[in-house]
């Protein structure tokens, strides 16, 4: 069995890749996908920890995270769609109507 810290490190790396995706890409859909990547990285932690602790709680949480992710996807994509309709762009750095 691979030690739990291996799983946690892998999850940390995936999480950070997601974070960097949020920072590096200007297309908000891809930013959103990077956020999904972060959530998946956390799910990996949950499942690995559940296995490690021998408790089902971690797996149940992942189930709810999936539900939340689905809800977020629906709302988030609707927001992106709405912005695209009104502004013809979904690039993060072109959405600076309000600042300072």
């Amino acid at each position: 069995m691979a030690p739990i810290s291996y799983h946690l490190i892998l999850s940390g790396i995936l999480f950070t890749i997601g974070v960097m995706g949020v920072l590096l890409r200007r297309n908000t859909i891809i930013i959103f996908m990077a956020i999904e990547l972060m959530l998946n990285a956390v799910n990996l932690s949950f499942v690995a920890l559940a296995r490690h602790l021998g408790s089902m709680d971690g797996q149940l949480i992942v189930l709810f995270v999936m539900a939340v992710a689905a809800a977020e996807a629906a709302v988030g994509l609707a927001i992106i769609l709405m912005v695209f309709r009104n502004k013809e762009t979904i690039n993060a750095d072109e959405l600076k109507l309000m600042r300072w």
């Binding site: 739990i4 999480f15 974070v19 920072l23 590096l24 859909i29 998946n40 690995a48 629906a74």
Partner: protein
């Protein structure tokens, strides 16, 4: 999960995750994310989360990612030559990301010395029976809250996206 399996899954996970955030084409990014999620499902199987592995494929790779692809197609997003951010932000995020990874790796590996062995698994761990039993007893409240959550999502999506 032995070490070999771990690495056989970890390496493609990281690689495809990198493709998600680096590939200029939104479609390729989305497809890579599907691959990441599928590998993650495999990963779940190896960690005795059988039912969750299926959910991962059905809900995540199946429904959610299809939704993404659908919107990408709907908006007809092309490769953007300027897809990446201005240099200062790019540098800052790379440094930031590197530091975050270094910190997490260091902290997690430091904690590994005091690590206890994995617990013995109870009977039926990760099966649909165990999952549903938990879901309707200990997790009854979260289950109910999720219903409101999904209602909000449906109402919200309709409000925002309708013409």
């Amino acid at each position: 999960m032995d070490l070999l399996t771990f690495f056989m899954l970890a390496v493609p996970l990281v690689l495809f995750a990198a493709v998600v955030i680096l590939h200029p084409s939104p479609v390729y990014s989305a497809m890579s994310l599907v691959v990441v999620m599928s590998f993650l499902a495999l990963y779940f199987f190896f960690l005795d989360a059988h039912m969750l592995g299926w959910f991962q494929i059905i809900v995540y790779a199946g429904s959610i990612m299809v939704l993404f692809l659908f919107v990408i197609m709907l908006l007809n997003l092309q490769n953007d030559p300027q897809e990446h951010q201005q240099p200062s932000l790019r540098t800052a995020s790379r440094i930031g990301g590197a530091v975050l990874i270094a910190e997490l790796v260091f902290l997690f590996s430091r904690s590994s010395s005091s690590e206890k062995a994995a617990a013995e698994l109870p009977e039926g761990f990760g099966t649909v029976v165990a999952l549903s039993e938990k879901l309707f007893t200990d997790f009854l409240i979260p289950f109910e809250i999720t219903s409101i959550l999904l209602l909000i999502a449906a109402v919200g999506a309709v409000v925002l996206a309708k013409r």
